[in-house]
């Protein structure tokens, strides 16, 4: 128990960020109309593609000789990029369809 408390205290700033972010996630989309559910899902999908940053870091610190890290890291970069780029492009295409044509 006291260990957990200590951990909370040590990481309080991160915990604050996490808690506030959870609140924000809920508040920010609270008013979305049903038609926008799909594009919103798709946009959110693109945003979690931010995991690509992790892939870049893994890849960038891998040793030249470490083929496992290089290979899987390379794969991770590709997959992450597909998520990000594909996600934003597909969302944009969808939203274009919702646009008023004037």
């Amino acid at each position: 128990m006291s260990q957990i408390l200590h951990w909370v205290s040590d990481n309080q700033q991160i915990l604050y960020i996490v808690i506030l972010m959870i609140f924000l996630g809920v508040e920010v989309i609270g008013r979305v109309p049903a038609v926008l559910h799909t594009p919103l899902m798709s946009g959110a999908n693109a945003i979690h593609g931010v995991v690509i940053i992790g892939a870049i870091i893994v890849m960038g610190k891998a040793d030249q000789g470490n083929f496992l890290a290089l290979g899987l890291g390379f794969l991770a970069v590709i997959l992450g990029t597909i998520n990000v780029v594909g996600g934003f492009v597909v969302t944009d295409r969808m939203l274009e369809m919702f646009k008023k044509k004037t």
Partner: protein
């Protein structure tokens, strides 16, 4: 200096994610919101490549990184551009799976890293060198990322028709057992002998992969949008684990934001269909309801001939078209637009009444009709449409069923009771096109079809529309 600048980039990226998501939830700003989030993401990625410092030295293997980004970007753009509008949910599911796999791979490589570090220190188990919190982050990333990956692939398979719904007795119990196994393996890895741990970590990942498959398998294909949204928020959490791992705030905030917003979105999607998330996940809805449909008495209905239908519409003043899932199945959106133009030329006032959950994904009908170049101004939202029905001469229901089922308003025992519907009964006449008297998604009988003002026009939506157009042309 560089690393400080990167921090600012990350803060900016987090802000664009929040703003982007906020703007995405408003029709007027949605597109701009998406672009803003994309801009922040670009900033974060470029910043990481050039400014990130690993123990004081910049990242290497830049060539590989750029190649990976190039390949991924190319694949992403091409597939996203080429996919048919109606196949959007599949596409999102695939992209989501990629993200999950990426998160899982990162955690996996960090595990290998730890493993090597432990071994070179000559330690016999993980718990020696690695804090429980840190291990927890890694293993959570692997498990959730893998589940999201496997689940997304299955969801994609179901939507594209490659995977069938598989239901067997005791399925839910099996799933819970599997989940327990995954967790047990994860704990065992942390405590056991180092070399054994190496194996058990991969066993954990493997079990998670199977759990992901089992988790999605029993859920009905039509519920996939909800499942994809849920897996989407899973991937968000997996990305956030990466954020903890590297103490990277952009990953952390982006991941948590999507995790939280995605969960709410999932719940809202269920609500729009008047169901609970649990009900969707247990996947029993379609099954139990379709049996009840058979029990319902069939009333008598009347059919209308093609030429009569053509006549009625061509000589009326105001027609409202109610598109539904059947229109998408028949890919009849172009024929539908054709009919609308033809009638408009003849002086008929034609508009579309769009139900928010018509079809199989939210906004399905908007996307479908937009594909056929139907003007946005002709689309009425549910509330507007319900106000206009009383002044409407003919309502043409094209492959819609549940969204015009009066049971949602009248029958408290109906599974769709409480769902807002399009009140087509208020119009003077109602022509319903579908192929048979079979029920729709919810598997329940529709009393609308047996009402005196309603006439059925059987046949595949596309064929029927083409024939109608032919008839009206020769009138």
């Amino acid at each position: 200096m560089g690393i400080d600048l990167l921090t600012v980039f990350y803060i900016a990226a987090s802000v664009t994610f929040i703003l982007g998501l906020k703007m995405l939830s408003n029709p007027a700003t949605a597109r701009r919101g998406n672009l803003i989030a994309a801009g922040g993401m670009t900033l974060a990625i470029i910043g990481t490549i050039f400014l990130y410092k690993n123990e004081g030295s910049p990242l290497h293997n830049l060539g590989w990184i750029f190649l990976g980004i190039f390949i991924g970007g190319l694949i992403g753009t091409m597939t996203a551009r080429k996919v048919k509008m109606t196949a959007m949910p599949e596409m999102v599911s695939l992209f989501n799976g990629m993200g999950g796999a990426c998160a899982a791979l990162i955690s996996l490589l960090e595990f290998e890293h730890l493993f090597e570090a432990n071994r070179s220190e000559g330690l016999s188990s993980f718990s020696g060198l690695v804090q429980p919190g840190f291990y927890l982050t890694i293993v959570t990333g692997v498990i959730i990322g893998t589940v999201s990956f496997a689940g997304s692939i299955i969801a994609w398979g179901k939507l594209s028709g490659n995977v069938k719904d598989i239901v067997f007795r005791g399925q839910h119990l099996t799933n819970i057992l599997f989940l327990a196994l995954v967790l047990a393996a994860a704990i065992y890895t942390y405590q056991t002998d180092l070399d054994e741990a190496h194996i058990y970590f991969f066993i954990t990942a493997g079990l998670a992969f199977f759990y992901g498959i089992l988790f999605v398998l029993p859920i009905g294909g039509a519920d996939m949008p909800v499942v994809i949204s849920l897996l989407n928020s899973f991937t968000g959490v997996a990305a956030a684990c990466g954020g903890f791992l590297y103490n990277n705030k952009a990953m952390l905030t982006g991941g948590i934001l999507v995790g939280s917003a995605g969960t709410l979105l999932t719940i809202m999607m269920c609500k729009a269909m008047n169901r609970s998330l649990l009900n969707v996940l247990i996947g029993s809805f379609g099954a139990s309801a379709s049996s009840s449909a058979e029990n319902m008495e069939q009333g008598s209905y009347k059919s209308i001939s093609l030429s009569d239908a053509a006549m009625v519409m061509a000589y009326s003043q105001k027609v409202l078209i109610v598109p539904g899932y059947g229109l998408a199945v028949a890919q009849a959106q172009y024929a539908c637009h054709e009919l609308e133009k033809l009638l408009t030329e003849k002086g008929v006032d034609v508009k579309y009444a769009i139900h928010p959950v018509a079809g199989r994904m939210p906004g399905h009908m908007n996307v479908l009709l937009a594909e056929a170049d139907v003007s946005y101004d002709l689309l009425l939202e549910m509330e507007q449409a319900n106000e206009e029905f009383p002044a409407t001469d003919v309502v043409l229901v094209l492959g819609a069923n549940d969204v015009v089922n009066p049971a949602a308003k009248k029958d408290p025992s109906s599974p769709i009771y409480g769902m807002p519907i399009l009140d087509v009964e208020l119009a003077k006449t109602c022509i319903v096109n579908k192929r048979s008297m079979k029920p729709g998604y919810a598997g329940i009988e529709n009393a609308l079809f047996f009402q005196p003002r309603t006439s059925m026009l059987f046949g595949d939506a596309k064929k029927v529309l083409q024939n109608l157009i032919g008839e009206i042309r020769v009138l």
